[in-house]
Amino acid sequence: MRIRPRGDSKILEGDLTPMIDMTFQLIAFFMLVINFADVEQDQRITLPLSELAQPPDAPYELPLTIHVTGGGRFIFAGNQVANLSDLRSALQLEKQIIKGLRPKKLEEVTIIIRADQNAKIGLVQEIIQTCQDLQFEIFALRGEQSNTSTLSGT
């Protein structure tokens, strides 16, 4: 019986072309949809819908974002804040920093309130009142854009 020499066996190469095609298409997709904007969002919060909630024409000069969860917790600067007095202290600190860096610019600060749709409105009002006490004047109540009318139901 004749035994074939092992050295003769051909090297099998898989066809990589479809994989590379697919990979390039994925890269093209991600490059098109990538967003480097520093948008402060929190997955714990479901914003209320509104057809009139329009994104600002230009980014805010000095934005401060306060999140209010449906359970009534506050999130400020990425940290969970236990209660309103702690939030006041944190805002007081921000105020001092802003006043130190940019004098007389406190009224240009925009307080963005991202409250959950089921949060108590009283809490949002208390935040506004706290900010007013600290001389902040401009507020932006954030909602999620809706393509359909939100007024046709209750």
């Binding site: 990589l16 590379i20 990979t23 390039f24 994925l26 890269i27 991600f30 490059m31 949809v33 990538i34 967003n35 904007a37 948008v39 969002q41 914003l47 209320p48 819908l49 509104s50 057809e51 009139l52 909630a53 329009q54 994104p55 600002p56 209010v68 925009t110 963005i112 409250a115 959950d116 749709q117 089921n118 949060a119 108590k120 409105i121 009283g122 949002v124 009002q125 208390e126 506004i128 009142q129 007013q132 006490d133 001389q135 004047e137 401009i138 507020f139 932006a140 109540l141 954030r142 909602g143 999620e144 854009q145 009318s149 939100t150 007024l151 046709s152 139901g153 209750t154």
Partner: protein, 161 residues
């Protein structure tokens, strides 16, 4: 003279491995930095503190007061504009139509003088106030154009729990 056989030219093989490495690294980078950003928008309200507003002259147009009352389950129980109560399946739409008739809306740029105060129960769900703000501040017509109604909106002082 010996002529080389044309069929015995060297077969050039491109090295694909470095390119595939880089491509995969790019892919991994984009996958990890990918974030879904939902379209969001703002209702801008200028509300200085009560002490600061005392110096401003009172407006000649009467203040419209929107009252939102909450039920036991924190859902909306009643909505009023001054003394007019809105009932039925779409009270916010009725509120919007009432405001449009009161300020004489003709699809124009809105009114800068008229002011609306929102007085709501402490426990009411936030989305109802956003609905009220939507009804008060503007509307989108059938052509998709946005029209402003009332631009000055403020909240009544909160009643402590």
């Amino acid at each position: 003279m010996k002529i080389r056989n044309a069929d015995r030219r060297e077969h050039i093989v491109l090295q694909m491995t470095p390119m595939i490495d880089i491509v995969f690294q790019l892919l991994v980078f984009f996958v990890f930095t990918f974030k879904i950003v939902l379209p969001e928008g703002d209702f801008n309200i200028r509300m200085p503190s009560a002490a600061a507003t005392r110096t401003i002259e009172p407006s000649e147009t009467p203040l419209l007061k929107v009252t939102l009352r909450a039920a036991e389950n924190r859902e909306l129980a009643q909505i009023r504009l001054n003394d007019i109560v809105f009932e039925g399946p779409a009270p916010f739409l009725q509120l919007q139509q009432q405001i449009r008739s009161m300020i004489g809306d003709a699809g124009g740029p809105g009114t800068a003088e008229q002011e609306v105060e929102i007085d709501s129960d402490y426990d009411l769900k936030y989305r109802y106030v956003i609905n009220a703000l939507t009804a008060i501040t503007g509307y989108i017509d059938s052509n998709g154009d946005q029209h402003k109604l009332v631009e000055k909106v403020r909240f009544a002082p909160v009643e402590q729990q």
